[in-house]
Subunit: 250 residues, 2 copies
C-alpha cells in the first residue's frame, strides 16, 4: 500500500466519521457465529500483516438505535438481513482501547495520528449473530484489513484488544440461548437430520450428548417438523429430515 494514500483515506474516514454524525467513544462489535464442517466458527478480520485478528465492528449514528447500528453494520459487512442479533455484553474497560500490537504496527508504518485516533477511549456494545457461512461475503474495503478468517472457536488465533474475552462471553451466551429460548436457525441448512442437529449442539456446548435422549429432548420442544427421509445409499435406516417450525413473532 502507498502510505500517503492510506493517510489520505484515513483523514477522509475520520472526517466522514464526524460528517456522518457518529457517536464518539462508542462502537458495536459483532461476534458472527457460523457452523461449518462440524465446527463452530467466528468471523475474524486480519489486521495488516501483524498476524493478529479482530472482530468486525462499526460505529453508531447519532440518529439510529444502537440495535439498528448493529443490524446496519451486519448488513454492510455481510449483506445479510433478518438475522437473529442479540446484545450480550458491554466491553467498557478503560484500558481496552489501546493494544500495543496496533500501536506498534501503525508507528512502524508512520501513522502516528491514526494510531492515537484508533487508541481513543472506546466502549463497545457487543452483539452476537448466527449466520450461514456460505451466504456471507465479507466486505474487505476497510483500512488495514488484509483478509478474513472463519476461526474455530476452540482454536482461536491471537486477537487484538479484549476480543478473546468478548468471544468467550458470546459463546456462553449462545449456549444459554440455545438451551432455552432460541433455535439453531441460520446455523443449519434445512433440511437436516437429527444427527446433524446433535453435532451442532456438540460443537456449541463442546461436549457429547447421548443420542437417544438428545432426540427425545429436541422432539419434545415441538420446534421440528419432519419433511421426509434421507436416503444416502448407506447401509442403514434412513434418518428423518427436519425443518424448524415457523415460530410466531414474540
Amino acid at each position: 500500500m502507498d502510505p500517503e494514500k492510506n493517510h489520505e483515506i484515513n483523514i477522509k474516514q475520520s472526517e466522514d466519521r464526524f460528517r456522518e454524525n457518529l457517536l464518539p467513544s462508542l462502537s458495536v462489535n459483532t461476534v458472527l457465529f457460523s457452523y461449518h464442517q462440524e465446527r463452530l466458527n467466528v468471523l475474524l478480520l486480519k489486521f495488516g500483516d501483524t498476524g493478529y485478528f479482530m472482530l468486525p465492528g462499526g460505529f453508531i449514528r447519532r440518529d439510529e438505535d444502537v440495535d439498528e447500528a448493529a443490524l446496519r453494520n451486519l448488513k454492510e459487512l455481510t449483506a445479510l438481513e433478518n438475522i437473529y442479533l442479540e446484545q450480550f455484553y458491554v466491553a467498557g474497560n478503560a484500558e481496552r482501547s489501546t493494544d500495543p500490537v496496533v500501536v506498534e504496527f501503525l508507528k512502524k508504518q508512520g501513522y502516528e495520528k491514526i494510531s492515537s485516533w484508533l487508541s481513543q477511549r472506546n466502549v463497545s456494545i457487543c452483539y452476537l449473530a448466527l449466520v450461514n457461512e456460505k451466504k456471507v461475503k465479507p466486505e474487505l474495503n476497510v483500512q488495514f484489513i488484509s483478509r478474513y478468517l472463519w476461526a474455530d472457536v476452540t482454536n482461536l488465533p491471537p486477537l487484538l484488544f479484549d476480543h478473546t474475552t468478548i468471544i468467550e462471553k458470546a459463546l456462553s451466551r449462545l449456549q444459554s440461548d440455545m438451551d432455552q429460548k432460541l433455535l439453531s436457525n441460520n446455523l443449519l441448512n434445512e433440511p437436516f437430520t437429527m444427527s446433524d442437529l446433535q453435532k451442532l449442539y456438540e460443537a456449541v456446548f463442546q461436549k457429547k450428548f447421548t443420542r437417544s435422549n438428545f432426540q427425545r429432548k429436541m422432539l419434545k420442544r415441538d420446534i421440528l417438523a419432519r419433511v421426509g427421509k434421507k436416503y444416502e445409499g448407506r447401509a442403514h435406516k434412513a434418518p428423518y429430515l427436519y425443518r424448524f417450525k415457523k415460530v410466531k413473532a414474540s
Copy 2:
C-alpha cells in the same frame, strides 16, 4: 430555587463535565433494589415538581472502567461499597434521550439550554444492585431532584424516559439471577428465618411458594448456615436462624 443561580450551577456542571473528562453520549443508570416490609422496592428520584421520577445515574470518566463508573456512582449516591453490581442492559434507542415532560418543565422555567443539553443523544449502560434500604442515605445535591422514593416495583409512579422498561428488565434479570447463581445477600438482614427468605422470594417473583418445598430447595443449595433459633415469645415452634455461607470469590 433561583433560576439564575440554577443556571450558573448548570453551566458549571456542564463545564465540569468536560473538565473532568467525561465520556460523551454515555451514561450509567443503576436500578437499586431493596427489600423492606415484605416489598421489593427500587430507588427513584423525583424530577422537580413534575410528579415524574427517574432512576439514579451518572457519567463515565475517560480514564475509568464502565463498571468502575457504576460502582463510583453507587458510592457517591449511597455511600455503599462492596455491593453486588451487574450490568444487565443497554438502553440505546435513538429516541430515548428526549422526554416531553422534561423538555416542557425546563422550558417553563426558562432553561432552554439545559433542556437541549439534557436531550442530547444518550446511551445508558444499566446496572442493578441489591442494597439495604436502611443503610442508604441518598444524596440529593443534584439539580432538579426534589426528593427520593423507595417505590414498590409492583406499583411504580410515572417515570421519565424509558426508565419503566429498564426497571422491568432489571426485575427479570434479578429473578433469573436469584434462581441460579446469586443469593439474597444485601437484601436481608442476617440472621433471618426461612420464612423471611421465602417472603423475599415471593416479593421478587411475585408469586407464592409452597412452604415445605421452598425450605427443602433452599437447604439443598448448601448456601445457608443455621446459627441458632429465634424465640419471639410466640406460641409456636421457634424457627431456625440462618446466615449466608461465605462464598469463595469466583
